[in-house]
Amino acid sequence: MKIIIAVIKPFKLEEVREKLTEIGVQGLMVSEIKGYGRQAGHTEMYRGAEYVVNYIPKIRLELVVPDNNVSKATDIISETAKTGKIGDGKIFVLNVEDAIRIRTGETGDNAI
């Protein structure tokens, strides 16, 4: 089992979710975040004073998938979330020790 953490542009969320559902992903965790990578901030003006906007709104997706679905999921996210412009985001893949379904007590791949 792996957990995929993906940072994408906010307007890409619905499209990514639809494509993930098509390949059998049944659950998703979504949070609104602000961040930056190499897409640096830009300067803005507030009441006559300049300031740098360092943090750009992004969406953070987290999904836990069985090992055999990981590369399909990361490929789908990559393709769908890509615009070719700077700031498209990143995907990280981490190992998951275990998963438990609270309602039934199932563990492992049966829990996701």
Binding site: K9, F11, E14, K34, G41, E44, M45, Y46, Y51, V52, V53, N54, Y55, K85
Partner: protein
């Protein structure tokens, strides 16, 4: 104790007999000629600032119904359009709307570029044109607010994808020329008033006209990206702040007492005072009827009450009664408002079916309910023919001219933001200022 009663009774007899003896005299003798002028002026001033407060209502309503990333832009449009209306109406609009003797084409077109001038400071009775009316300043102040209201109806419909400057340019033209011209046809003593058209406070002159301009804009602009899917389904884009939207609606409700009440145009007699009271009461009850109609309908149709529909319903009720808030009974006004509220519940999804993306429902609330309200005047004795002619001529006039202006603006400067800007949100791309910035600054 007995002597006290005797004194009281004799005083009562004195008062009653004095009143009976004076019953033959006209109303204005009971309030002096100067008093009539002062009371009328007072009504205009109070009505005027109440309608001004509606600008805050629109701003809050729209801010609450657009998404967070577009709120600053929406607010900017609201305060800017109000200010533009104020200047444009002074420079051109007021005298264009009330030509008096100065018609260029009698009944149709007043003088263009005629500045508004006020009475001299400390005006005396001799310097007043019509002592039975009100001060020019109060008249101008009051009417200006109606002009601004018309413009603010447009900003809600075309939200979230229009560039700021084309909207402001359109507003200049709407407030300086389009609105004053069509309003002059009725309130300025033009051809519609000769025809017997009746629109007490502007269901068509203000609301349906504003909605017509908005409709033209929405058509030229196109819907928001992702709003209508290829399979015909509609993608809702919920507003960012229900408390603001609700606050805005209540503010509009309050301001509407000035909108309709002030349109009595007189407060210097018992009849006028009683009339303004009727108008306040009917205005209020129509809003209530509209709100409840929408509440009940959405419960039945969608199994859940939709707050945004209830808010729109209340406003539709207010718009509906605006054409005739004086004549109906309380029950009648409630019904007129309720029908307006019901209309809106059906009109909003209908516009979506036609792929006309109206972000806040302004076309439904102000346009369709406005037309209903104008036609409903026939229940108070209006002429169906005159109401139809008035509604159609004003809406067509505004719609066609607005469409041309939007189209030309689109050719010259483009009225829609780029796809990327629209997806990122107008606040950062048009203005560089988040409405809810949190920790975006370093």
């Amino acid at each position: 104790m007995l002597s006290l009663i005797k004194i009281f009774v004799s005083a009562l007899i004195c008062i009653v007999s004095t009143t009976i003896l004076h019953a033959e005299e006209t109303n204005t003798d009971l309030v002096s000629a100067h008093g009539v002028f002062v009371f009328n002026t007072l009504l205009f001033l109070i009505g005027g600032f109440l309608v001004m407060w509606m600008a805050a209502g629109f701003a809050m309503l729209e801010a609450g119904l657009v998404r967070s990333k577009n709120v600053t832009t929406q607010l900017t449009k609201n305060i800017a359009l109000f200010s533009i209306a104020a200047i444009a109406y002074f420079l051109v609009g007021f005298n264009l709307m009330y030509p008096g003797d100065g018609w260029l084409i009698t009944g149709y077109l007043g003088p263009i570029f005629s500045l508004t001038g006020l009475e001299p400071v400390g005006a005396t009775a001799e310097q007043i044109g019509d002592l039975g009316y009100a001060s020019v300043g109060s008249d101008f102040f009051f009417q200006l607010m109606f002009c601004a209201t018309t413009a603010s109806i447009v900003s809600g419909t075309i939200a979230e994808r229009m560039k700021l400057w084309p909207f402001l340019i359109f507003t200049v033209l709407l407030t300086a020329f389009l609105y004053p011209i069509e309003a002059s046809w009725q309130w300025g003593g033009g051809w519609l008033s000769e025809l017997g058209f009746s629109d007490f406070a502007g269901s068509t002159l203000v609301h349906a006209a504003g909605a017509s301009a908005a409709l033209a804009g929405a058509i030229v602009l196109g819907p928001r990206i992702g709003k209508y899917k290829d399979d015909g389904s509609v993608n809702p884009m919920p507003g960012s702040n229900m408390p603001l939207a609700t606050l805005g609606t209540f503010i509009l409700w309050l301001g509407w007492f000035g909108f309709n009440g002030g349109s009595q145009l007189a407060l210097g007699s018992i009849g006028d005072a009683a009339d303004v009271s009727r108008i306040f009461t009917n205005t209020n009850t129509a809003a209530a009827g509209g709100a409840l109609a929408a509440l009940i309908l959405t419960q039945i149709m969608y199994k859940k009450i939709d707050l945004t529909m209830v808010l729109n319903g209340a406003l539709a009720g207010l718009v509906s009664i605006t054409a005739e808030p004086l004549a109906p009974s309380i029950g009648g006004a409630t019904l007129i408002g309720a029908i307006g509220g019901a209309i809106v519940v059906f009109a909003v999804p209908m516009l979506d079916k036609l792929k006309i993306d109206d972000v806040v429902g302004a076309i439904s609330v102000h346009g369709i309910a406005g037309i209903w309200g104008t036609i409903a005047v026939i229940f108070s004795g209006g002429s169906f023919g005159a109401q139809i002619i008035g509604t159609v001529s004003i809406c067509l006039f505004i719609f066609i001219l607005s469409f041309v202006i939007w189209y030309v603006l689109d050719m010259i400067m483009g009225i829609r933001v780029s796809e990327e800007d629209e997806l990122t949100g107008l606040d950062t791309t048009e203005l560089g200022m988040d409405a809810y910035p949190d920790f975006s600054k370093s």
